[in-house]
Amino acid sequence: MATIKREVNSASDPIVNNNVKDRGNDPYFIKKAEKAKEILQRVGIPGKKKLDFK
């Protein structure tokens, strides 16, 4: 496997690649989003307690 070349720059230049799988249905990410929602329902964000959740 080829060595991965690291980069340093300030500009964002990501490549759209359809081999990148959408992992929105991965159980781990679903669980993490639920946990985040639970916390934010309780504490809100700075300066705003009430949020409109999905």
């Binding site: 496997m1 060595t3 991965i4 070349k5 690291r6 980069e7 340093v8 720059n9 300030s10 964002s12 990501p14 490549i15 759209v16 690649n17 359809n18 081999n19 990148v20 799988k21 959408d22 992992r23 929105g24 991965d26 159980p27 781990y28 990410f29 679903i30 993490k32 989003a33 946990k35 985040a36 929602k37 916390i39 934010l40 309780r42 504490v43 964000i45 700075p46 705003k48 949020l51 409109d52 959740f53 999905k54």
Partner: protein
């Protein structure tokens, strides 16, 4: 952000990103996924991050990569957040570890590149269920990131 990072790729839905970490344990595929939690005013996305298992292509949350490139990985994730929040309608990113020790690792990582992060973002930490601006040497349970 002038930090060494890995090249990364994104899905055409602009919500899923991938990159490879490289170190003593070889190349490890990493995934970042933004999931909307709120619907508006402001929109908040959860940042999900993990290694992709070679065995089943699912996220493996139990693994500790230990590939000796923590800061490069963190800089890559920071660059991904920067790309994702480039659209000004995307306001907040929420992140926490799946265990207290993992959250602590995130905290150490943020601390190590805090000056660079602050050029582009405001970072809050959650302590005792109250948000405060991120400070070093304070233990937080979650993080909230907002573009400057």
């Amino acid at each position: 952000m002038n930090l060494e990072r890995y090249p990364y790729f994104k899905n055409s839905n602009f919500l899923s990103y991938e990159f490879y970490s490289e170190g003593p344990r070889g190349q490890i595929k990493k995934s970042v996924r933004f999931t909307a939690i709120t619907i508006n005013n402001p929109i908040i996305y959860n940042l999900g991050f993990g290694d992709i298992s070679e065995a089943n292509e699912e996220i493996d949350d139990s693994v500790i990569s230990n590939n000796q490139d923590r800061n490069v990985v963190l800089a890559t994730v920071a660059n991904i957040i920067m790309d994702f929040t480039h659209n000004p309608s995307r306001h907040y990113i929420f992140a926490t570890g799946n265990t207290p020790s993992r959250t602590r690792l995130y905290q150490m990582g943020i601390s190590s590149i805090l000056e660079e992060i602050r050029k582009d973002f405001v970072v809050f930490g959650l302590k005792d269920d109250e948000w405060q601006e991120f400070q070093r040497n304070v233990n937080y349970t979650a993080f909230l990131i907002n573009r400057n």
